[in-house]
């Protein structure tokens, strides 16, 4: 019998497939098209202490096998999540993870603090990797000291599972991963988007209002797989792999690279049912290869 369940810190997932923050709203947006109770977990949209309008339109441009976004953490703030959104999603039969972002260390910790009252939130994912905000966001994730200060503050404010989401826009991602682990992370997830840029050559202007943005989708997958492989050798905590997963095969690739679970983002825009198909594929794959547990999925 194949057992798809996975444990990340104290959080139990029924299978290793989660949705990536910012690409799945609060799950509700996909409820017509997907049986959400089949998902391993849902990571909801990046949440900050105060409401944020995000960046001006245009915020998205398609690029070869990918897209660059500059949404910039538009959200209604943690109080709105607590009062209005949480009551609507709390009974989903899947692990709920809130992606937390902030300008200052105190902001991050305050959001975690507010979330503590919500019993059904299994974990927070500390986003020290958003390339689309001027202050905070990625700047915390590009130095070991920045990472250490945010992660240890959140650790003090949050006693359930804490995942730290890493940016790939660094020279050595293993260094940051180790700093997150040392500061108390129960898991690291990677990658967030790669800083990218695209220009409309006829109009001679950048496509995005912010000029640069975050590249996601199939285009980034080989780099993400390489980073997941490196990080999984550098830390003891479980690694959650993501970046350009388009189908079940790609999900298995990340698991073989050393990830304990995966997240799927951009691919949901193309096939909203990709997560369910990936779960079925992983089960089939394990049966075909005579592998019983996710932890035994390893490269030969």
């Amino acid at each position: 019998m194949v057992d798809l369940s996975v444990k990340i810190g104290q959080m139990c997932l029924k299978n290793p497939v989660m949705t990536a923050s910012g690409t799945y709203g609060f799950g509700e947006e996909y409820a017509d098209l997907v049986d959400l109770s089949r998902l391993g977990g849902i990571v909801v949209k990046g949440t900050t202490l105060e409401p944020r309008q995000g960046n001006p339109y245009p915020r998205m441009v398609e690029t070869p096998s990918g897209m660059i976004n500059a949404v910039g953490l538009q959200n209604k703030g943690v109080d709105y999540l607590v009062e209005h959104i949480y009551p609507r999603i709390k009974d989903y039969d899947t692990a709920l993870v809130v992606n937390v972002s902030g300008r200052t260390v105190e902001d991050y910790a305050a959001v975690c603090e507010r979330l503590r009252t919500l019993d059904k939130i299994a974990a927070v994912e500390i986003n020290i990797s958003c390339p689309n905000v001027k202050q905070g966001g990625m700047s915390w994730g590009t130095t070991t000291a920045g990472c250490e200060s945010v992660v240890s503050a959140c650790r003090r404010a949050w006693d359930r599972t804490m995942i730290v989401k890493l940016t790939p826009n660094v020279t050595d991602i293993t260094e940051i991963a180790r700093a997150a682990e040392a500061a108390g992370a129960d898991s690291v997830s990677l990658v967030n988007t790669f800083l990218g840029m695209a220009i409309d050559v006829e109009r001679r202007r950048p496509y995005l209002s912010t000029i640069t943005g975050g590249l996601s989708g199939a285009a980034i997958r080989p780099i993400a797989v390489r980073m997941v492989w490196q990080v999984s050798q550098a830390v003891k905590v479980p690694v959650i792999g993501l970046g350009g997963i388009m189908n079940g095969r790609d999900a298995v690739e990340f698991l073989l690279a050393g990830a304990s679970a995966v997240q799927i983002g951009t691919a949901n825009f193309i096939d909203p049912q990709v997560t369910i198909k990936a779960i079925d594929y992983i089960r089939d794959y394990m049966e075909r290869h005579g592998i019983e547990r996710i932890a035994d999925l390893r490269m030969l």
Binding site: T23, E29, G54, G217
Partner: protein
């Protein structure tokens, strides 16, 4: 809307791909299984584009016509994705997510002018038929660069009184739709879909004369479901809102332009 139609993903077969000059095609589609959900005028679909190496995301396209067994999409060749759609052979399969967004308000009385520009005429006939059935007096005003860009003129004429403006004067009134004399008549409601400069000009006229007016926006989209927040429009009442979910149709009272 009193009830909400569930979004679905349906495989369609192309029953006809009729070229309309060099720049447009009308795709007639049949669901491979089951029936079409009901669709409101102004709602759109997200089409997965086959046969295009460079097209990654789905493409949003308005519903031109729909009944329980058929879906029509009117497509302009704007780039690689829409080109591939316009080149589909009969029998090709298309995977489509629908129905998406909120369409035009049908709570209209009196006299309504439905203004379309280029491929933006696509959703207007469905709206016109709905309003006519409610006893509204409907006129269409179609604008285009040349007579070759006036799409589905016969169908519009069969439906209601139709006025045309072409920039080169090759059909109807010469000049922009906004200079057409029919706009000067008294209207209770204007619905508009077309290029941004046209919608802005029509909105300006409606504002000046105090006419209730809706426009259909075409912001660049990724998910089409309200999940990614890529397609936002800055509104007067709620700041950035998703065009794919709250729109694509907006009353100009909500818009900042």
């Amino acid at each position: 809307m009193l009830w909400r139609i569930m979004k679905q993903i349906i495989d369609f077969e192309v029953t006809e791909c009729a070229q309309m000059g060099p720049n447009y095609a009308l795709l007639r589609l049949r669901p491979l299984r089951g029936e079409m959900p009901s669709i409101e005028p102004g709602q759109f679909v997200q089409v997965e584009v086959p046969n295009s190496k460079t097209t990654y995301l789905r493409r949003p396209i308005s519903v031109n016509y729909a009944d329980r067994h058929e879906l029509w999409l009117l497509v302009r060749r704007a780039g690689a994705g829409t080109n591939a759609l316009c080149n589909l052979p009969e029998g090709a399969r298309l995977n489509i997510m629908l129905p998406l967004g909120h369409g035009f308000s049908t709570d209209v009385r009196g006299r309504a002018l439905l203004v379309g520009g280029g491929v933006g005429v696509a959703p207007l006939r469905m709206l016109g038929r709905r309003l006519l059935a409610q006893g509204v007096e409907v006129h269409f005003l179609l604008g285009a660069r040349t007579s070759a860009d006036v799409l589905q003129l016969d169908l519009f004429r069969q439906t209601a009184e139709t006025h045309v403006a072409t920039e080169d004067g090759s059909w109807g009134h010469k000049g922009l739709v906004t200079a057409h004399p029919i706009l000067q008549e008294p209207w209770d409601h204007i619905a508009c879909c077309g290029p941004m400069p046209m919608m802005k000009a029509v909105a300006a006229i409606a504002r000046e004369r105090g006419i209730d007016c809706e426009v259909s926006l075409e912001n660049v989209m990724a998910c089409g479901l309200g999940a990614c927040l890529c397609c936002v429009e800055d509104t007067a009442d709620h700041g950035n809102v998703c065009v794919c979910q709250e729109g694509p149709v907006f009353n100009i009272k909500r818009l900042k332009w």
